[in-house]
């Protein structure tokens, strides 16, 4: 290393110079003695004539520069020596900083994985994603894509892709799901991905619709499902009933282009009818595809945006009926889709706030320790200052110590973050539909740079204030023992109060999130435990609605006969079992057409008989749907309490008439509000209609209440369904609690993280409070000794110390309450069944904090009462 070389070089230089000066003086002494001078006089004269040898050696050395490096090296060695002498202090400080830095590094790793990490493909920074605009949730249909592809000049290549998960893949008689993507033939070449095995799609294979059934599988699927052998190439598998030939395997690190949603399988756009059948993406009104393009050399994202907008306007002009006002949004191909950004950024933000608070507490704590330590060293500092050491030089040296501590903390933090990443990743491992998530969290340069930068910043943050303070002030009084600690005491007091405030805010946040997570896992007016769910899609294998209805009836009949099954129901596909499927335009009868404001849109769900029984949603009044509520019978509906109150505030809703999409319905039941709504959204009007009266359906989501563990029942349930028709794709089968956990993952995640952080924060601030009081008791031992010698009782000494400590704790608690009121507003969208200003949580946290603070104060206070007055007075 270069600087190391310089250090060695410099020390050799210094040695030579010193030898030279010494030799000069010796020679002169000898000369003078030869001239007859006695040795003592000769030496004196030689030294006098020479001048200040040390100074000249210094100046001579300075000529060569690099002095700061040497000073730094000296400071580092000095600091290391200091750390070795105080192993307890060093260990505590490094662990605290490690926790703080580790928490932040962990969160940053996720932010990096979500938003910053480029795709693992060739030159990923030249890739641009194109989404629909202004509605980013919709993409483009195939004709739109073809127009963009054929008319754009800004891209070398423009590919289309959309995730059509799940695909039901039958291979060797084994039927399982795969997450698939429909992609254009140039997808892999635009990304610059090369096949690990075989080949990717040719242009000819993506030219004629429904003609070339070829598929590419991922490395993971090849290994898991096909044993990883070369026989995979040319193998025929059935995807949603259609035979496909596998032609290639992707490299191990390629998971598709959608962050967080890895693909197992890719099929050409011309076979898209095999995938999702909600609509036909060859038509203008079915926009499923996102685009990804590689910029031509020298072109920029802004140019891509301009060109895509122009082309979108041309399409709109040619197809005003379907495309009026539709544009395109071109963004660098990194991070989540625009529609998903908020989901990820909200989570990242709350976790980052928690992590930063933890770091601040750790910093305040270590700063407090440093102030205490510098009090112990105040004489050393004062002496060094008074014999002429530069103040900046001392500050620099103290900062070197802080930075070194922070550096060790950073190393520990990096290690901790590697452990923590694994834990947190567990939350992201599967989503609410049971699909595996994939996030690349391996350590990269950005994360490394972040943790190094953060360590430096931390070192300055906690080191600067104590360093400035311990080198300032009145020297004479500092040289005398014991003075100069008032201001330090004040600083430490504020540091402790600040820690307590931050801890309380963290505790309140954690408390609210814990209660919220509790509500989520127990459900609000529905009971997810002991319920198995799964998705049935006869539509994928071309069932007609009539055939699907017979199938469903047979499935329900058989499942209800299965031992251990208590009740069976199902609801319309798409959306979660307890969420809605659709929106209705609601109006009340006998209203003039002009009063349009009385008509409003309301979310609803289409559910089969025994749905309320199965999910245990309480009915406040009326009945649930039965087998008789079918086409031909009068149309009936069940409203929730919020809707009932809104429509008929004074009277009962049962028997009332309302219009849904201009069809007349009669209210036969009122259900409790059963949807989990967070504190931001609040309760919501909602209604249910019978599945059998809904427009003809083929697909459904089943919910089955069982006596035992739903996960254990699922194989038998699957088997029973397979005996009705083995070809029906069954997907998303899991315990309902797992689905709930998946949907409310952000709540559980932030609740767990905040709870850990709050626990640590409480511990740290208790240590801080304990430290400041112990220190104060030590410092005041003489005063306390005198008091006791003069007759103060132990009780009054106890009170003296306790008052001092609890005053700090209360100051911190009051600050913390204000801080909580501000910060918990950020949490509102994660709070289910608990308002952000929940008094019980606030009080419980404040109480817990005060109790812990009391304990932290009591220990030093009791020690104060045990001070021996004689010993204290004899001191000095």
């Amino acid at each position: 290393m270069k600087w190391h070389f310089h250090l060695g070089y410099r020390s050799r230089m210094r040695g030579e110079l010193a030898a030279e000066l010494e030799s000069h003086i010796e020679e002169k002494v000898v000369d003078l003695m030869e001239a007859g001078m006695p040795e003592r006089d000769a030496r004196q004269k030689a030294l006098r004539d020479f001048g200040n040898a040390a100074f000249y050696a210094d100046v001579g050395r300075d000529v060569w520069g690099w002095n700061w490096l040497e000073i730094l090296w000296k400071d580092v060695r000095y600091a290391l020596r200091g750390m070795r002498q105080n192993p307890g202090f060093t260990a505590v400080a490094v662990v605290m900083l490690g926790l703080g830095i580790g928490a932040n590094t962990t969160i940053f790793s996720f932010i990096d994985a979500f938003f910053l990490r480029p795709l693992p493909v060739e030159d990923p920074l030249r890739l641009v994603s194109v989404y629909g605009n202004p509605n980013v949730y919709t993409g483009f249909c195939y004709p739109e894509y073809a127009y963009f592809r054929d008319h754009s000049t800004v891209f070398i290549g423009l590919a289309a892709h959309y995730s059509t998960a799940p695909l039901n893949v039958v291979a060797d008689g084994d039927s399982r799901e795969a997450t698939g993507a429909v992609v254009s033939a140039n997808y892999f070449s635009v990304l610059g991905v090369n096949p690990l095995l075989g080949r990717f799609f040719s242009v000819e294979e993506d030219t004629v619709p429904d003609h070339d059934y070829v598929a590419v599988v991922s490395y993971g699927m090849w290994q898991r499902r096909f044993g990883g052998g070369p026989a995979i190439l040319g193998k025929t598998v059935k995807i949603n009933g259609t035979p496909f030939s596998i032609i290639g395997v992707t490299p191990e690190d390629f998971h598709g282009v959608l962050m967080g949603s890895p693909n197992d399988m890719w099929i050409p756009t011309m076979t898209l009818h095999v995938g999702w059948r909600g609509c036909d993406a060859f038509q203008f009104d079915c926009r499923r595809m996102d685009l990804i393009g590689r910029l031509a050399p020298g072109r920029r994202v802004a140019e891509a945006q301009a060109e895509m907008s122009t082309l979108a306007a041309q399409i709109a002009a040619a197809n005003p009926l379907t495309n009026r006002g539709r544009g395109a949004l071109a963004l660098p191909a990194v991070g989540p889709r625009p529609g998903d950004r908020k989901y990820y950024s909200d989570q990242s933000r709350i976790l980052a706030v928690v992590a930063v608070m933890l770091l601040l507490i750790a910093c305040a704590n270590v700063a407090g320790l440093l102030v205490a330590r510098s009090s112990a060293r105040s004489r050393e500092m004062a002496v060094r200052l008074s014999i002429g050491a530069g103040r900046l030089r001392l500050i620099r040296q103290l900062l070197t110590e802080s930075l070194l501590l922070a550096g060790f903390g950073g190393v520990l933090g990096l290690w901790l973050s590697i452990l923590a990443k694994g834990k947190l990743l567990g939350f992201y491992a599967t989503n609410s539909e049971g699909y595996k998530g994939y996030y690349d969290l391996s350590l990269d340069m950005r994360v490394l740079a972040f943790s190094i930068g953060l360590s430096l910043l931390t070192g300055l943050l906690f080191g600067l204030l104590p360093a400035i303070q311990s080198t300032s002030g009145d020297l004479t009084s500092a040289v005398k023992e014991g003075a100069m600690s008032r201001r330090r005491g004040l600083l430490r007091g504020w540091l402790v109060a600040g820690q307590i405030a931050l801890s309380l805010a963290l505790m309140v946040g954690a408390g609210l999130l814990m209660r919220s997570a509790n509500h989520v896992s127990h459900g609000l007016n529905f009971n997810a435990s002991h319920v198995a769910i799964l998705r049935l899609r006869p539509g994928l294998v071309r069932y007609t609605p009539a055939r699907a209805q017979a199938f469903h009836e047979e499935v329900v009949r058989r499942l209800e006969a299965l031992p251990g099954v208590q009740s069976v129901s199902f609801a319309r596909g798409l959306g979660l079992a307890w969420l809605g499927c659709c929106q209705f335009r609601l109006a009340l009868p006998r209203q003039p057409e002009s009063r349009l404001e009385d008509a409003f849109r309301v979310d609803g769900h289409s559910v089969a008989p025994r749905y309320f029984e199965t999910l245990q949603i309480p009915l406040v009044a009326g009945r649930e749907f039965t087998q008789r509520d079918r086409i031909g019978a009068p149309f009936v509906t069940i409203v929730n309490e919020t809707l009932a109150r809104r429509l008929w505030p004074q009277a009962s809703a049962i028997g009332r008439t309302l219009f849904l999409d201009d069809r007349q319905y009669q209210v036969v039941g009122v259900a409790k509000d059963a949807r989990l709504r967070n504190a931001v959204e609040g309760p919501f009007p909602f209604l249910y209609i019978p599945y059998w009266q809904d427009e003809p359906q083929t697909d459904s989501r089943m919910c089955i209440r069982v006596a035992g563990d739903p996960a254990e029942m699922l194989p038998r349930i699957r088997h029973e369904i397979a005996t009705v028709d083995a070809n029906i794709p069954i997907s998303e089968d899991m315990a309902m609690t797992r689905q709930v956990e998946g949907v409310y993952m952000p709540v559980r995640l932030s609740s767990s993280v905040a709870t850990c952080a709050a626990g640590l924060a409480l511990l740290l601030s208790a240590i801080g409070l304990y430290g400041v009081l112990s220190f104060s008791v030590n410092r005041r031992s003489r005063e306390i000794g005198i008091r006791m010698a003069l007759g103060a009782l132990p009780a009054s000494v106890l009170k003296l110390v306790l008052t001092q400590g609890m005053a700090l704790a209360l100051l911190g608690a009051v600050l913390g309450l204000f801080l909580s009121l501000t910060l918990t507003r950020l949490l509102a969208s994660w709070l289910y069944g608990v308002p952000p200003y929940d008094m019980a949580t606030y009080l419980a946290c404040a109480f817990l904090l005060t109790a812990v603070a009391g304990l932290a104060c009591y220990l030093p206070a009791r020690r104060a009462t045990q001070i021996d007055p004689l010993a204290a007075l004899r001191h000095e």
Binding site: L17, E20, H24, E26, E27, Y56, G60, W64
Partner: protein, 116 residues
């Protein structure tokens, strides 16, 4: 405190000490003590230069490449560092001398009217 004292007693003009050292070295290699002795003797004790101040000057000249140094043995068998002037140093000396002479001439002109 020491610093302030010592720097007051440095050579008269910046660069003059270096110039004298270069001039002495042009006649042959010398070690530090030798240079100091020569200056003392040649200036007949007129120049009150602390001998130590020679060494920072020598370090500066070493760094600038005007002189090179190597360790050798003195006639008294003592390890000494002997300095030699380089061609760069010779050129520097010429420049210094001419600029020094110009400076002397300038000072002389300024001083003359004051004498009359």
């Amino acid at each position: 405190m020491e610093r302030a004292d010592s720097s007051e007693r440095r050579d008269l003009f910046p660069g003059v000490l270096e110039m004298m050292v270069l001039q002495l070295l042009r006649r042959g290699p010398l070690h530090g003590y030798g240079i100091a002795q020569m200056i003392r003797r040649a200036s007949e004790d007129l120049l009150q230069i602390e001998e130590g101040s020679l060494y920072p000057a020598l370090q500066r000249m070493l760094k600038s490449g005007w002189v090179v140094a190597e360790w050798g043995l003195s006639p008294r068998n003592r390890r000494i560092r002997v300095y030699k002037v380089t061609s760069l140093g010779r050129k520097q000396l010429e420049r210094e001398v001419s600029s020094f002479e110009r400076m002397l001439a300038g000072i002389a002109r300024v001083m003359r009217p004051a004498e009359s």
